[in-house]
Subunit: 474 residues, 4 copies
Amino acid sequence: MLAELRGLNEECGVFGIWGHEDAAQISYYALHALQHRGQEGAGIVVKGDDGLHAVKGEGLVNEVFSGDNLNTLKGHGAIGQVRYTTEQGRGIENVQPLVFRSTTGSLAIAHNGNLINARDLKEHLERQGSIFQTTSDTEVLAHLIKRSSGSLNQRDKVKKALSILKGAFAFVLMTDEGLMVAQDPNGLRPLSIGKIGDAWVVASETCAFDIIGAEHVRSVEPGELLIINDKGLTSERFAAPAERAMCSMEYVYFSRPDSDIDGINIHAARKRCGKQLAREVQISADVVTGVPDSSISAAIGFSEQSGIPYELGLIKNRYVGRTFIQPSQALREKGVKMKLSPVHQVVHGKRVVMVDDSIVRGTTSKRIVAMLREAGAKEIHVVIASPPLIAPCYYGVDISSDSELIATGRSLEQMRDEIGADSLHFLSIDGMLEANGRSPEMKNCGQCLACFTGEYPTEIYSDTAMPHEKEIVR
Amino acid sequence: MLAELRGLNEECGVFGIWGHEDAAQISYYALHALQHRGQEGAGIVVKGDDGLHAVKGEGLVNEVFSGDNLNTLKGHGAIGQVRYTTEQGRGIENVQPLVFRSTTGSLAIAHNGNLINARDLKEHLERQGSIFQTTSDTEVLAHLIKRSSGSLNQRDKVKKALSILKGAFAFVLMTDEGLMVAQDPNGLRPLSIGKIGDAWVVASETCAFDIIGAEHVRSVEPGELLIINDKGLTSERFAAPAERAMCSMEYVYFSRPDSDIDGINIHAARKRCGKQLAREVQISADVVTGVPDSSISAAIGFSEQSGIPYELGLIKNRYVGRTFIQPSQALREKGVKMKLSPVHQVVHGKRVVMVDDSIVRGTTSKRIVAMLREAGAKEIHVVIASPPLIAPCYYGVDISSDSELIATGRSLEQMRDEIGADSLHFLSIDGMLEANGRSPEMKNCGQCLACFTGEYPTEIYSDTAMPHEKEIVR
Amino acid sequence: MLAELRGLNEECGVFGIWGHEDAAQISYYALHALQHRGQEGAGIVVKGDDGLHAVKGEGLVNEVFSGDNLNTLKGHGAIGQVRYTTEQGRGIENVQPLVFRSTTGSLAIAHNGNLINARDLKEHLERQGSIFQTTSDTEVLAHLIKRSSGSLNQRDKVKKALSILKGAFAFVLMTDEGLMVAQDPNGLRPLSIGKIGDAWVVASETCAFDIIGAEHVRSVEPGELLIINDKGLTSERFAAPAERAMCSMEYVYFSRPDSDIDGINIHAARKRCGKQLAREVQISADVVTGVPDSSISAAIGFSEQSGIPYELGLIKNRYVGRTFIQPSQALREKGVKMKLSPVHQVVHGKRVVMVDDSIVRGTTSKRIVAMLREAGAKEIHVVIASPPLIAPCYYGVDISSDSELIATGRSLEQMRDEIGADSLHFLSIDGMLEANGRSPEMKNCGQCLACFTGEYPTEIYSDTAMPHEKEIVR
Amino acid sequence: MLAELRGLNEECGVFGIWGHEDAAQISYYALHALQHRGQEGAGIVVKGDDGLHAVKGEGLVNEVFSGDNLNTLKGHGAIGQVRYTTEQGRGIENVQPLVFRSTTGSLAIAHNGNLINARDLKEHLERQGSIFQTTSDTEVLAHLIKRSSGSLNQRDKVKKALSILKGAFAFVLMTDEGLMVAQDPNGLRPLSIGKIGDAWVVASETCAFDIIGAEHVRSVEPGELLIINDKGLTSERFAAPAERAMCSMEYVYFSRPDSDIDGINIHAARKRCGKQLAREVQISADVVTGVPDSSISAAIGFSEQSGIPYELGLIKNRYVGRTFIQPSQALREKGVKMKLSPVHQVVHGKRVVMVDDSIVRGTTSKRIVAMLREAGAKEIHVVIASPPLIAPCYYGVDISSDSELIATGRSLEQMRDEIGADSLHFLSIDGMLEANGRSPEMKNCGQCLACFTGEYPTEIYSDTAMPHEKEIVR
């Protein structure tokens, strides 16, 4: 499904490197590979001879960084972030990595995830005299570290601070001495370690390793704190690992098909989901087509399993960007379409299986179904390569509140009517887990299923609600 | 294959509309759909109440046009162009549509193609007192029209001027009265007519009709001159149709998969080429993968016919644009890749069929083969969904000179060695024609095969050579 | 008076250099010094090893040229222009220098002035088969040169073409061989020759010579054609010099105070005008203030002669540029001013002599008088350092049509009432001429006085009218 | 003297408004009038219905604010800043106003000045758990307020925090309730109050009041804290006023000529300095000229008193901006000048009095003297409208360290030799004070003379040194 067309967004992608003379340049290419995780802001902080230097800005990686400012970032350690922005999070001050200055040294933090006890912690810290300059949860960690008992060393301060945080987090921190990398006890967000020569790298997705020629070593473990400095990498724990609960939407939609999570390739997992769907659902049809780009893998799998030929029934316009002029309502009614075009000759007079990765509000699916029908499709069978979404996410996915979800309070039949398809099918939860190489038998299947089941792997705090969902917090 | 990585480029895309109150806006969306045909310049000329007004600039459609300047273009007729630029053609003065002012009215011209007698005509016209302000062939037509005998009416002047031109051309002209649309006698470049309500539209590719909600009516015929004005559309002839010779590279590479040429869908034709290849070539392999984006259709066809599963073995980075900082040589040697990444888990340990649409110099193929091998592919079989390129194009395709072509002076074996594949296969000419719905038995198969055979559908003038190819003109 | 606030604008500034290895760079700095003559477009054409290369664009010199594109202009000859644009002249195609390509060589033209027989010549040329791509008069010269009898050499063709032109022109032409520089027979627009080492330079104003370290040699003479090439400078004549008639507004307003025209420094002439005014007019007042920037010299002169102290009673805001957000009407009524602020302590309770260089429509003067009164000035005496403007200009000054001129059909008393001053005074024509070092006794005083007298130094053609003045052509 | 050419820079200008529906727009125009106080960053924070919103950026006011982002700032209270940046202060995070978020409300701070105990306070605060995100002193105030005893109300917390600060400061703070405005006990930096209708405004200079149509009420007093909210304005004290010590350089160079400080107009004061100079120094000369822009007033005064005519001997190029391409060393040696041109006819063969406001390192004066000599000046007498600079500033003026000052360790004769003038003269301290309306007899003359005398009005802390001056702290 098209990211721009729906309310389902990832919070960001993070990257770190230590021990490479081209640290900032490498970070730039890596952030580029992570660009799909956040298009509204980007930043790199480098450890130079005289401390931490940052270049940050709103926009895409190639808008924020030019040869000029990238070349000013000299040093052998760097961390970076690309950022998706919620309405509440706008403003250059929220672009990460955040940098905290002190007479005894500086600290930079890049974060992917969402803390569910951030409001409680902020209030507590403010009562103690802390002040905040961003609207981001991330700042909380810096204050907690600062306030950890003075007798502890830096590493223990960080561990103590991390242990207080609840929710989903993949943190990359940098001081003058090196990197610290942490994953929440449930491992809700992906974070992987790699090597490029002697230098260590960490990234939200392994596709960042490919572009920079790094070798993938392993995933960061839930509750693990990695210390990376000039002496190498040390692994410690700040918390006992809890039930592993990797975000399901990473498999379904967020991650790039060439990334691996826990050793499983995303394209392969999605293709298996498509195959599994074809096993679960029996449809007589002439062609299978996917909604580009994220549904292509599942569509290929569905075609392979069902024997129905795979075709390019929908084409995405590659050049539509943020600066593109949107057609007026009058023009839209006259038929001006953007972003997606149906291929008439492929769908005309055909029974079409349209594979999509997920449905959020259903408005986009409805529009695509109408587009295919207008192009002459005889039947349109919508098959969704994931289970129905029924509950909000508190761990960093900016999903619509559940009152907006098409699957809330509607039967399958009603949903089908809503989007105007001839039939509508979802992948079963068990089918999805099996396709992802997880064991559906175990409770601890390794994946967070909260958005499909409403059962959350962590306790839920009163302040976890996104502003527009305040009313639905339970 | 990746356009940016090779010396094979289309000259442009053209569009025209008459009789629609939103003529400029519609042109904007249409040019956007044609953006793949030229990314270096764009322009729209509108017929307003007080004559022709132009906005033109270097760059992408959404860089040249903003709400501000697009809104200044008011009128119910418009023509536009997107432009690929050769080294010789740089400069804002060459961005089309060209506009010629006169005390008796103005004329705007947008052109796709290449005139092979342009230099002769220029010299002739200069001897008569004409002066030229661009380095483009297109200006010749304006001078020829101007110099046609004064006793003729405008339409006959245009017909007389067109009849003097040799080579490939799809012209869209606009005066204060309406549009004139012409196709060369061989029909070398695609050009189609459509309708949006009562307004007539013309475009280089039918994908432009889809985005604006226009209905595809038919192709412009070889030697046809269409007159479109407030009274409607009239068809005339300025030349008897010669042997139809639609550019083969439109099928192979240029056109968007959702476009149709002469009633044949490009995706479908490419998929049939892939199927045909699988019939012509016997390979034992584990996976089929295409080089994105233009080879995807052929790869799907190859997979379907051969039964070897289709996979995403190569991922294109969607965010690499023209402003992206290129890695230094040092970084490239350290493994920093751009634009294309192999998917390790898909190709590791596998026998891979890598489908590409064509090979020009072979340097990109060599790089991709190396990339796949590094990612662990056990065998790499390169199959090309078109015949070997052996001769230069004089009709508007900026193909490398034949001394640079990998297929010139090399056996298949030598080519295979050059790119480092385990095997290399090309589609046969007959196979390609059959897949495109052309009849290989007839000499007049309807497609220009010059780049595959060295036999040109028109006579060749001494000035047809592109500057860097001067030495090889025969 | 503030250029932006009134309808009085110069058409452009031109520059040329031959024989200097940094020709384009030098042109850039020279155009910069001429920037006040035109802020809406700029261009440089350089003679490189392989012909003429242009960089042109809309906007200021430093917006059009960056290190990147300026560095692409390599060669030892260059011409350039800065351009003021009338409504009719918008569009990148009108930005000069214009370049005309031909198989036998190229020609670039930069022009300051206005041809009064351009329309007749265009019609004539079009009947012969010429086509025009700009709305500029300048293109006419290129066509005339091209059409001059084939038996003539290039130099004689240019002379013949120039001799056909009527009106005001300062031309700088460049071919592959060198520069040609021409001044109309009345010498209506300023044009000077200088040297920088062995290289010859020409410029609209001598202030361009100062910035590039060139030595001022002399003015180009009326009817003179200079040939500048690798052999040096040759002077020829294309016409007998007519009555010398240098534009009076160059002295009054256009030229920079550090420029000299015919050996007379502009600041010095303006100061003498101010002194002359003080002799012609008796005012009892406390302070003299000038409207920045162009009236400062006259105000200093007035103060020196009258003995009334010179003060900064009005301050111009240096940072207001074209991209500045204009206050809404509501804000303006609340007192938000831009560009000009009165200095309260200087004018409060004082009798103020406000010196301005000229009055066109009177709206700006009215506004400034009101501003001073609001700041507490007791009396405001407006003295204008030039005679009243009563007639339109056909030689390149975009002056308002005479129906808009405050001096048309109004007595001095009525004008004073209109602008709200306590008294209003103009410099006499004789006083102005004397201050400029011209002899008022001779009919041939050397200055064009047409805008003050309605008597034009040349015949006036039917097509000389600016579009908005059509009705008033006599 | 030209700001860009020397190491003498103001830290910033601040503005605030409360009670006006167009608060952000008004702030924009006001910051524009203060633009000369800082060109490297600008920001506006507005109090909207849902808290504080900021737009900040690097660059000029009209670069940072466009209609788009300015229009997003809705509310009836706003504060703003324009900012000069030292090397240490670069980075978007340092652009003010700074905003501090808290669950109990937000606080925005704009600051002009320099705290001399900032480092001590930072270390103290960090030991208590505070963390800093900028390298600016300003953040200290926010932390001090936060940490003031919880039993105090907001106003008393601010007063307590302010009383701890040492050095020069003009603060404008904004909370959800209103503005708080404070001036250090010595009143080292200018800060004035005004009214626009019912709304209160504060600004670093009164020229900001003129542009927005506000009435100047009075200066903020040393040690005063103004509380401005919906109930109106209340004046309180956070400290007993110390010896008044307004920065002398405000009179000499920083402030705009149309601003008033303590009821004295800057142009008038500078003109009196010029007159005083003419009384103190006897020179036989032909012309007086000032170095634009800041020395014009003094030059006029010198001329008026001495009877030597005032002329425009030097012209400043208005269009040279930050994006201008600087001439290469080679071109500079060939004579390419920027920014300033001598007017040959004015100075040639003349004995010239060149008035400048101050001399820092002397390099610019040397260059201008050479320029005038090259233009033919017979004698050049440099007269400086302020006393010699001999000591560094710790209160917010980025003056060169004293080892770089031309007046350090050189006799008047040696300085004259260094800059190449025929004579060199400085204004006496007493003369300057008298011209500024201050009484030189009193120790407490009201002006800070530290840079002329080395005697500082406050105690000096060890951490007051600017980084590049560390060695010279006494």
